[in-house]
């Protein structure tokens, strides 16, 4: 039983070391294309972050928090932007995992990026924490 416990510790440590070796800033043409696409969209998303309509989610995505500030006829456009951004972010996490040679790391990359988005959010933007929205 004790041996099993030690084995688990060693395996977990090993897994941490493997993840620690991953390069989140790895570059590839696909990653560059995704970053370019997200940068182009950011100009449209920033006012929605500023108004509190959108926020950064705990799973590394974007979600509609309170769209009431967006005119009714334009809400579809806002949700389409959210869908496109989330598709790009998901693809980005997959690509970074692929570029590291470990597609199975996707979930870890996603988690790490969720923290990055939260860190980089401007003051006044909304971030999801433990299922609740918190204003930075």
């Amino acid at each position: 039983m004790k041996a099993l416990k030690w084995l688990s510790v060693v395996l977990l440590l090993g897994a941490s070391l493997v993840l620690a070796q991953g390069n989140l800033d790895v570059s590839s043409p696909a990653i560059s294309a995704l970053k370019r696409s997200m940068q182009e969209r950011h100009a449209q998303l920033a006012p929605l972050y500023d108004s509190g309509a959108l926020g950064q989610t705990t799973d590394g995505g974007v979600a509609v928090r309170d769209a009431s500030a967006v005119p009714l006829a334009q809400r579809a456009q806002a949700t389409a932007l959210v869908a496109a951004e989330n598709a790009d972010r998901s693809a980005l996490y997959r690509e970074i995992a692929r570029a590291n040679g470990h597609p199975e790391w996707e979930a870890d990359v996603r988690r790490t990026f969720a923290g990055r988005w939260a860190e980089r959010a401007r003051a006044g933007w909304w971030i999801q924490q433990d299922g609740n929205w918190v204003r930075k």
Binding site: S27, S28, P29, A30, I31, A33, L34, R36, S37, M38, A53, V64, R65, D66, A67, S68, A69, V70, L72, A73, R75, A76, T79, A80, L81, A83, A84, A87, D88, S90, A91, L92, R94, E95
Partner: protein, 644 residues
């Protein structure tokens, strides 16, 4: 007769009617101080519950059998509503009237006759004020006002009314409406320990966003009937009249306790896709480009949904057409007329067939084709479908898709029956080439973010052939969409190739191996390629123009200086061998040739015969975009020529 006393109290226990429950009912009247308090420990209306409900009357009087009250306040554990109300009640005849003035100017009048009939009039009730004491409504932030009148007689209720400038919004704003103008009429009577009801609703003005649909009143009207129980609202059938629809019927079951939709189904007949498509289909299939999608023809449909899962769906298309205009990320596409039946079953089976009159995908025209479809236990299977393309066809066989753990997965096979490369290049606006393209992919598979093609694409061109294997399309619908493949070319006739692309003239044959080829938006972003002279005996000549073009590609100085003088003297030269390699990575092409010369330069063409000259590359690292623009400039200098 009521006995005279200083005070009295009544304990009424429980009162229950379908959709209505009262428990712990108490009435206390302090005659000396004129205070009347009615209390219910628990009140439940249509699944909504309140605790410790108190109606307090500060000025009550009892004269004979007449109980009168004014200046009252309603409070409950969840909140408080200030009401100025007065009532007069004949306790002997069990008749009376009540009038409540609401704080925003609206008022309610009700009169009860001794026969048990209750008439009421509700005028200009503020919905935002109602939400203060109706918690379930508060979550939807209602606005606007409601007026209604009705009668409750012999256990049955009849009411009619209207909503003016009404609206609502969920917390996220993804379900919201504004400026609603509605009229309604309602009848309800006890049935199966609940209320059976019928209702008519007309929506004359306003707009709603029910994610992802933006809907405007065109106007709409609805006749519905159903049943209301203690914690369940059933919509047995609602028939809707709206523009673009001959007939639309909906049924649903909503859990009042759980606040969720349990079941939903609809059937649609005679739907005009030009009217329905932009509102109901485009947001689902092209949310970012909904204005670019166009629809035509007619649709009949049925759908059954329960507990978050689509159980069955049926679509019948009649002279339908679908298309996306050019510009939204490509040249667009169009299909139609489409006729036939498309089913889906989570359990059980059904089969149908769609026939497509013609189609266009990007610049390619597709001929008439039929697609047999079989739905069985959550899997959709397409039978053999041959889509005519130019003088050949793309044939899909046994393609089946299924939804698993919230993701669509699929597999099947695809064959491209031989088609003319000349017609293909003509259609795509590329330099004209002759040859035949064919493909056999017995292992077609797709899952989120990836399409794999286990097989080979073969193009016979320039007297040789190109074979692509290991085909994989990653992120097919995303910004990082790309194609991966390993490609081999064998025995490509350089004379035809260079003539087609106006790249001087080179006689001979080459083979090439390209591994790890990755195309993003049809532009190469990575590969390891090596092109070299095919083995065998054949004439090997390179023209002066081809040498100059090669030199231009290399940025000048690509011919051995000692031989430069020969260029102006002869039209062409002999060569023994040629080879060119390029490893493309991160926008840079690392070049190589037949051999490395030690100083970083490399031999591309080794001269042979008379006259002969070597072509040497001096720059082993070239920016790929620069190389491509040089190649385009070189090609642009001459018109394209058709090869024989």
């Amino acid at each position: 007769m009521v006995p005279a006393a200083d005070s009295f109290s009544l304990s009424l226990g429980e009162f229950s009617r379908p959709g209505l429950g009262l428990a712990g009912l108490e009435l206390a009247y302090d005659v000396r101080n004129g205070r009347l308090v009615a209390r219910a420990g628990h009140l439940e209306i249509a699944g909504q519950q309140w605790r410790d409900v108190r109606l307090q009357c500060a000025a009550a009087s009892l004269q004979g059998t007449q109980l009168k009250c004014s200046r009252g306040e309603l409070s409950f554990a969840e909140g408080k509503a200030a009401l100025a109300f007065s009532f007069s009640l004949d306790l002997e005849r069990q008749a009376g009237d009540i009038e409540i003035a609401l704080e925003d100017g609206g008022h309610l009048k009700a009169a009860m006759s001794s026969g048990g009939e209750l008439r009421f009039l509700l005028d200009n009730l503020s919905l935002s004020k109602v939400s203060r004491w109706w918690p379930a409504l508060a979550a939807w932030a209602p606005t606007g006002s409601m007026s209604a009148k009705g009668v409750y007689r012999n256990g049955a209720l009849k009411a009619q009314g209207s909503l003016r400038e009404a609206g609502f919004s969920s917390q996220t704003g993804l379900q919201a409406a504004e400026d609603l103008e509605l009229t309604f009429s309602l009848e309800a009577r006890p049935e199966r320990q609940g209320w059976g009801w019928t209702a008519d609703l007309s929506w004359m003005a306003g707009q709603a966003y029910l994610d992802p649909f933006f809907i405007q009143a065109l106007p709409w009207s609805m006749n519905a009937h159903g049943w209301l129980g203690a914690d369940r609202l059933e919509l047995t059938e609602a028939v809707l009249q709206m523009p673009g629809v001959a007939q639309l019927a909906v049924s649903a079951v909503f859990s009042l306790g759980g606040q969720r939709l349990e079941r939903f189904s609809f059937s649609l007949a005679g739907g005009e896709l030009a009217v329905l498509g932009p509102t109901w289909i485009a947001p689902l299939v092209a949310p970012a480009n909904r204005e670019a999608v166009n629809f035509g023809g007619r649709l009949a449909a049925g759908l059954e949904w329960a507990d978050g899962e689509l159980l069955a769906a049926d679509f019948v298309l009649e002279e339908a057409s679908f298309g996306m205009e050019a510009g939204a990320g490509g040249e667009g596409f169009a299909f139609g007329p489409v006729n036939g039946y498309l089913p889906w079953r989570m359990a059980g089976e059904a089969s149908g067939e769609l026939s497509v009159g013609e189609g266009r995908w990007e610049r390619l025209s597709l001929g008439r084709f039929s697609m047999p479809v079989e739905a069985r236990d959550g899997t959709l299977r397409l039978g053999r479908t041959a889509i005519p393309l130019l003088d050949g066809a793309v044939v899909f066989d046994d393609v089946h898709v299924r939804r698993q753990a919230g993701q669509w997965l699929g597999a099947g096979s695809v064959v491209i029956e031989p088609l003319s490369v000349r017609l293909l290049t003509e259609a795509l606006g590329l330099p004209l080439m002759n040859g035949v393209l064919a493909a056999s992919v017995p292992g077609l598979g797709f899952r989120p973010g990836e399409i794999t093609l286990d097989g080979a694409l073969v193009v016979s061109v320039f007297d040789g052939y190109l074979q692509a294997t290991g085909l994989r399309i990653l992120e097919p619908l995303g910004a990082s969409s790309r194609l991966q493949a390993d490609v081999e070319l064998r025995h490509i006739d350089l004379a035809q190739l260079t003539e087609t692309f106006s790249f001087g003239s080179v006689a001979g044959f080459v083979d090439a191996d390209i591994t790890g080829l990755e195309l993003s938006r049809w532009r190469p972003v990575a590969f390891d390629a090596r092109l070299y002279s095919s083995p065998g005996n054949y004439p090997r000549r390179i023209s002066q123009r081809a040498v100059e073009d090669l030199a231009a590609l290399g940025g000048g100085g690509a011919v051995a200086a000692i031989q430069r003088g020969l260029l102006g003297l002869f039209r062409d030269f002999g060569y023994r061998d040629l080879a060119l390699g390029c490893v493309l990575k991160e926008g840079v092409c690392s070049m190589s040739g037949l051999s490395s010369r030690g100083d970083g330069s490399f031999l591309i063409v080794q001269g042979g015969g008379l006259p002969a000259l070597d072509v040497i590359g001096y720059n082993p690292r070239v920016d790929w975009d620069e190389l491509v623009s040089r190649l385009q400039r070189v090609i642009a200098e001459g018109a394209s020529v058709v090869t024989d």
